[in-house]
């Protein structure tokens, strides 16, 4: 697939939009899922758990970058959304599979549905690891 030539497509980011919010900020309620990949029910987002350790977040970020073939220096934090990084549904399932292998856990399909960000994945991992 040929890459779009840099000179002919200027980044849409150069068009400032008033009140532009990052997707990370849109956490309350379920964001409109345009590609209908993994709709996120609002209820499952209210998980009462402590935030995962930074090392876990780091490991998840590493697995995500590997799956999506992102350069190592790509900024991926807890707030990073899988979809925004370019993960489609196949990537997401592969990422979950990678997490299962890395952490020796088994992620139910239901739980996998509610993973939208790196933090979600890290929190779920620690929850599952603790239960073992």
């Amino acid at each position: 697939m040929a890459a779009a030539s840099a000179s002919s497509f200027t980044s849409l980011k150069s068009r400032p939009a008033p009140g532009l919010a990052t997707i990370a900020a849109v956490k309350s309620g379920a964001p409109l899922s345009f590609s209908f990949r993994r709709p996120v029910p609002a209820v499952s987002r209210l998980r009462i758990s402590c935030a995962a350790k930074p090392e876990t977040v780091e490991k998840v970020a590493k697995i995500v970058k590997k799956q999506l073939a992102l350069p190592a220096e790509t900024p991926v934090t807890g707030d990073s959304k899988f979809a925004a990084l370019g993960a489609d549904s196949l990537d997401t399932v592969e990422i979950v599979m990678g997490l299962e292998e890395e952490f020796h856990i088994s992620v139910e399909e239901d739980s996998a549905q509610s993973i939208a960000t790196v933090q979600d994945a890290a929190d779920l991992i620690e929850e599952l690891v603790q239960k073992k």
Binding site: S5, S8, L20, I23, A30, S33, M97, E109
Partner: protein, 327 residues
């Protein structure tokens, strides 16, 4: 293939960058200094038809055109597009929203053509739907649509009445994990057997992608969310019977294995030799003995507001599974 202009070029109003009248027309269809030219209407699909529209992002290079597309979107959708990391992802996200808005607008359902004025909502399970204005005497049409996109292809399927799910994927998409390990974890035993029986690894990879897109299309057609139909609860059966011109595809749910679910029809297409497109449709009517009519498909490649190209029946769209008649 037949190339139809999607817009009737009109001369630019007021101050033109081209002082010579003759040269005003030389790059007319590419002069986007004015607003996007009006969309050409399209006839709604009949109850038995499926319309497939697609955009190839690499062919949409004009920055001004992409800016105009952004202007069609409400702020929330613009924010969503800009939330994607990188030009490529933003572009395909933008084209997906643009394609669905302009396509639905062109069907002129409520008498006017403004893609900006369309509103979308989600059903109870999260599937996007059009939110038609409730006007006196206006009965919303049973227009159904579904979108799918990768960075290299954006597609939208439209029907009247039939629930539809579509999924697109690059033919040469590779999984990072071993296919059989992946299939054992997420697919059904029959599907694992089907993949396992393929000795050539390249063909096995392609078959995997075909299965994946068919399964995605099914779940999207159901519209009840992925958690209601995990992939290991239903089997896609692909019959490669020698007597059939192209293979039949059917879905079988594990909780009623003897009952091949007859409600759903599938089509699997190879687009431009580079992509698989899976379409799943709710069966509307059957022929004798429960046999379904073939899917009547019209496929158009488009650059919204610029041009359409009817590609069904050409080698841009090859049926590789299911019973399909292309128009």
């Amino acid at each position: 293939h037949r190339r139809l202009p999607a817009v009737i070029p009109t001369p630019p109003v007021s101050a033109s960058p081209f002082p010579n009248p003759k040269s005003q027309y030389c790059c007319l269809s590419r002069n986007f200094s004015a607003a996007l030219t009006p969309l050409l209407p399209v006839q709604l699909p009949s109850r038995m038809e499926t319309h497939l529209w697609y955009v190839v992002p690499d062919e949409v290079k004009s920055a001004p055109l992409l800016s105009k597309y952004m202007e069609l979107l409400p702020q929330s959708e613009r924010d969503h597009v800009l939330g994607f990391r990188g030009d490529q992802l933003q572009k395909s996200a933008l084209l997906a929203r643009t394609l669905v808005r302009t396509t639905i607008a062109r069907y002129q359902v409520d008498g006017h053509l403004d893609p900006r004025s369309l509103r979308f909502k989600r059903n109870i399970h999260g599937k996007p739907e059009v939110e038609w204005e409730t006007k006196d005497g206006f009965c919303p049409p049973p227009l159904q649509f579904n979108i799918s996109h990768t960075s290299s292809l954006v597609a939208c399927g439209v029907t009247m009445n039939s629930l539809i799910g579509i999924d697109v994927e690059e033919k040469r998409r590779r999984t990072k994990n071993n296919i059989l390990a992946f299939a054992k974890r997420y697919f059904t035993a029959h599907e694992v057997e089907h993949l396992n029986a393929i000795p050539d690894s390249e063909l096995q990879q392609q078959e995997f992608i075909k299965l994946w897109t068919l399964k995605e299309a099914y779940v999207k057609a159901l519209g009840k969310g992925f958690s209601s139909s995990p992939f290991n609860t239903f089997t896609i059966r692909v019959n490669t019977a020698a007597q059939q011109a192209s293979s039949g595809i059917a879905v079988e749910t594990l909780d009623s294995p003897q009952n091949l679910t007859n409600n759903w029809q599938f089509a699997l297409l190879e687009l431009m030799g580079s992509h698989y497109v899976a379409i799943c449709l709710e069966r509307q009517e059957t022929g004798g003995a429960g046999k379904a009519f073939p899917i009547k498909l019209t496929a158009r490649k488009t650059i919204p507001s610029v041009e359409d190209e009817l590609v069904s029946g050409t080698n841009a769209v090859v049926t590789i599974g299911g019973s399909v008649t292309q128009f």
